[in-house]
């Protein structure tokens, strides 16, 4: 699926630019996109080092294991393939809580840490496991308790009541999260049924 989407983005973009006679835009945007990606990953190095460092302390101090044990019923339900007391559990919880608290650029390093822990359990290293798909689904559904960015841009735009949409946001992202969990389950079952045939 990702192959098709990637190809579609490229082909429609280039063909349309060709039809409009603006091929120069394609070259320009391809180069600026590639450079932008490098700048973005270089910027990530800093926050990545910071949070992976903190996570290492949390791991050695046993904080991750304690958090993992506290919330293990929830995690066991969502991620049945992750063994109890595996470090991935604590990492998953840290990712989801950072996501909920709207901690912005702290979420990415924590999410990557969780993915790395899940990769240890993976037998086919280039293919996502069930647990990885579930974690990704939860992160993309974007369940946030405090949408700090939105409150900030609303009050910057001169809103009388910048937090007025927080309730609606909570309700909608809760709905999206639940549907994503259900869809993930259905896809997982279908995938395994097809695999067995």
């Amino acid at each position: 699926m990702i192959n098709v989407i990637w190809l579609l983005l490229l082909v429609t973009g280039i063909v349309y630019a060709g039809v409009q006679g603006r091929m120069d835009l394609v070259t320009l945007s391809a180069i600026s996109g590639a450079e932008g990606a490098v700048i973005l990953s270089l910027k990530l190095i800093g926050v990545m080092c910071l949070w992976l460092g903190i996570m290492k302390i949390a791991e050695l101090a046993g904080i991750l294991r304690v958090i993992g044990r506290l919330l293990s019923p929830v995690i066991c339900f969502l991620f049945p393939s992750v063994p109890k007391n595996h470090p991935a559990m604590g990492a998953i919880i840290m990712t989801l809580s950072a996501n909920m608290l709207g901690m912005g650029n702290a979420v990415t390093p924590l999410g990557i840490k969780a993915m790395q822990a899940l990769q240890q359990l993976n037998t086919k290293k280039d293919t996502a496991t069930d647990a990885m798909c579930t974690l990704l689904a939860l992160c993309t559904a974007g369940f946030t308790l405090i949408p700090a960015t939105i409150i900030a841009i609303r009050s910057a735009a001169g809103s009388v009541n910048p937090t007025e949409t927080v309730g609606a946001t909570l309700l909608v992202s809760f709905m999206a999260t639940v549907s994503v969990i259900i869809a993930d389950r259905i896809c997982r079952i279908l995938y395994h049924v097809r695999l067995r045939r």
């Binding site: 349309y16 990545m48 080092c49 290492k56 990704l136 559904a141 946001t169 995938y191």
Partner: protein, 178 residues
Amino acid sequence: MFTEFCEQLSVWAIPTILLIVPVIGYVRHVNVYEAFVDGASEGFYTAIRIMPFLVAMMVAINIFRASGALAVCVEYVKPMLTLIGVPPDVVPLAMMRPLSGTGSLGLVTELLNTHGPDSLVGRIASTILGSTDTTFYILTVYFGAVGISKPRYSVGVGLLGDMIGFLGSIYICQILFK
């Protein structure tokens, strides 16, 4: 009051963690400085490993946007979405949201400034931005960091989440703010 609480909470969250984790670590006899450096040393390689995935994704998305193909797609889906009650002004946001975080933040800021943050469109746009996420960025970075190139069904599930966030925001806002 509530605005202030939210602002304070987001100001305090990160410093609190930066304080508590090393202190607990020290109490539990972890060599905190060494542990931090040890963990941080992985940061560089992880970021570098993501780079090729990000380049692939951002080049394709950039071409798609800059060529005007995105704008044409928006025009195509607009009549269909208007039929099911979507305000035409938020349609570009629906297309942009899974592709680019900064792009959609820009679109929402623009909508808030032209329609006013307290208009229905402004409220819908704010709710959409809060209840969805940049699916392709998350997919690229999270899977890229561990070298996963076959994401299976997760692309579809992620996009479904975005769609529900989008349509849900429109309906809930129309009920709540009318």
